[in-house]
Amino acid sequence: MVRNEYLPLLKRVEKPGRYTGGEYGCLIKDKSKLDVRFCFCFPDTYEIGMSNLGIKILAHCMNSKDYIWCERCYAPWSDFEKELRENNLPLYALESGDPLNDFDIIGFTLQYELSYSNVVNMLDISGIPVFSAERGEDYPIIIGGGPCAYNPEPVADFFDVFSIGEGEEALVRFCELYRDCKKKGMKKSEILRLASHLDGFYVPSLYDVEYNADGTIKSFKPKFDDVPEKITKSIIKDLDKAPFPTQFPVPYLETVHDRVTVEVFRGCIRGCRFCQAGMVYRPYREKSPENVNKCAFESCKNSGYNEVSLSSLSISDYTQLDKLIDSMLEWSEEQKVSLSLPSMRIDAFYEELLKKVMSVRKSGLTFAPEAGTQRLRDVINKNITEEEILSACKKAYDTGRSQIKLYFMLGLPTETDADLSGIASLGQAVVDEFFSQKRNGRFLNITLSVASFVPKPFTPFQWQPQESLEEIERRQQFLKGEIKTKKITYNYHDARTGRIEAILAKGDRRQSKAIYAAVKAGQRLDGWDEFFSYDAWIKAFTDVGLDPDFYACRKIPFDEILPWDHIDCGVTKEFLVREAKKAENAHTTPDCRTACSACGANKLGGERKCCR
């Protein structure tokens, strides 16, 4: 439902379908019957946002309430942004066509650090003051959530409130509070004060941060006694009881993932030390196979999609995978629905699966050793051996496959050139395995994809520095030199993107000025190569008096106050310190099912299937 004044603009931009809505399955409600108008903003393009499962789940939870209407808005591409600014028109929600400023609450999901510029830009295009301190009663409440909200400090000055953790119940509770407060005529500041009393809600304006002369944090304290010192994230204890959408808007446009995605479990038992998701989504909780199967079946029926992806951090760890696959096969093959199981370990189960599921046979084979030597893999606690990789490759080759992808990182803690050579020799071993038997090597292609390591909050490596840009580039070139066969394709990303990511990931509140400066200088859509500018970002940081290296390149002592210390993600700092120390000596930690390492997340609840 686009207002008439936008129609001429739509004829001047690429893919105008991004901005029109009207999809089958989109929800229109009667405005007169509502108490809360919520606009869910996804800070990236329509094609990316429509592939995101989180926004579907949260919109469904809110729309299940008669008094809430949750609509959608996505970041405009540069051509549409130009038209909006030139014509003085604000961004609007797709369902109603109403401008963002008409809404009671605007929510942003923070998926990755480089999307922060889109958050600021979307508010700016809509004529909404970007800093929360400058927004009076006439402007909506701006709430943030999602994975990056575990360290929300770099964007804290833009948001009125954050929902930390899982939002299914939390967001509805917030809307309820908002409705009740509005009925009583309460002001925004009073509403936010009350919100700070709800579990899992962080109101940045109610805290004071003090800094030492060297830039480290001196103290982080609530302004009032009734405001909590630490905010513990919300979780859904029983995933089977959590609402899950089987009806949702089906895009006209081609999106990144044109398929049904169903969650299978949350959390992870592996404990890889670089992985933020594996830590912050604990405790481990499974959905029952009956539930997953039902969600998949209903979603396909209602959407017309012919592919289902089973989403989790490590699908092989799902305790009832065979039962789930069998029940899905009862209807999926007949209805020509293919199954996608990303993140599978290549083991005996996988072989069985290959025989059962036609569609899985078509998918590529991927491993993520992450490091080139067993020593370094032990440091990062990634439990995969060269033997396992080679044996799985052999099985793949025997069934006629010859495309293998191997993911690595470089710049990991304690890494030396010997570890980089290890990546090349592992790749070589995978190639050699192919030729160990008489096979046609024409189509053999081994891809080594190497990303630069970014230390993330709430991981055992959060105290680690990122290597300097020069060093990362040297290592990227060194590895290139170590690869001796044309059968290997070596991919690596520009280290500059990783550098800006690292600065923002461990940022504090002072960074909001830099983010604002970057946006004012023209940065947005930073997740896209054509728009990202390393120089613009570095300039933005230095112009506001911040040293980028302070955030990305410092080895932080264990006793320093971290900008995210006031957030409790479940896993304790003591656990992370233990893991960091073990890493220094390349000592591994077993997975949670083998032995509990007392990470602390189970105190939040959950089914504790993995804790003995």
Partner: protein, 208 residues
């Protein structure tokens, strides 16, 4: 096997999507019906689905056609129409379903209503004997005379401009994208809207 011809409109929000998007939307809508649909044989089976003629981005229509095949023969065309009305997006709604009359390949021409916002009056707009436009294609830029492809042309005045009723070649043999007519007259993209109103065979019969 039951061959089914579906007549549908394209309007509103669906004006802003391409033919490929329309195709994708139709495939999903058909899959939502739960009917057993005919697929092609071979290595990469896909739905047996044929459109009469793609419609360009920004163009609307009150008379579009696609054919598909149902494996279930025990269903009436009326039932199929009711089912499709449940599964199609509102802006691409089917309005009739029947057994195919002519083959889709019989398509030769189409009628269009073109609404133009302009100061020009009906009397000022006439078709000349030659209308050369530049067509950009993958092989380069070509100059083409589109006048021979126009079979009918009537102009009437409207409140804020004119309405052109055009009959033009349409189909795989010879095809005119009538936006070129607007381009020739110098009308701006945002000032005109094109609505396709009928698809015809070589005898001037509506494709049914």
């Amino acid at each position: 096997m039951l061959p089914v011809r579906v007549f549908f409109v394209k309007k509103g929000d669906s004006v802003y999507i391409s033919h490929l998007d329309v195709q994708r939307a139709v495939i999903r809508a058909l899959q939502r019906t739960g009917y057993k649909l005919a697929f092609t044989e071979g290595f990469n089976p896909h739905l047996k689905l044929v459109f009469a003629m793609p419609l360009s981005l920004f163009q609307q229509s009150t008379y579009e056609i696609f054919d598909f095949t149902l494996l279930d023969e025990n269903v009436t065309y009326d039932e199929v129409l009711e089912k499709l009305k449940e599964t199609f997006p509102a802006d691409m709604m089917p309005f009739a379903v029947s057994a195919p009359k002519q083959k889709i390949s019989a398509l030769r021409m189409a009628t269009y209503d073109i609404f133009v916002k302009t100061d020009k009056k009906q009397s000022e707009i006439a078709l000349p004997d030659k209308m050369t436009v530049t067509k950009k294609s993958k092989s380069g830029i070509k100059e083409i005379d589109i006048r021979p492809l126009i079979r009918g042309f009537e102009v009437s005045d409207t409140e804020d401009g004119v309405k052109l009723c055009v009959t033009a070649d349409c189909g795989s043999q010879s095809h005119l994208n009538v936006a070129y007519i607007c381009e020739w007259f110098g009308f701006e993209n945002e000032d005109f809207s094109i609505v396709r109103t009928g698809l015809y065979d070589g005898d001037g019969e509506l494709i049914g």
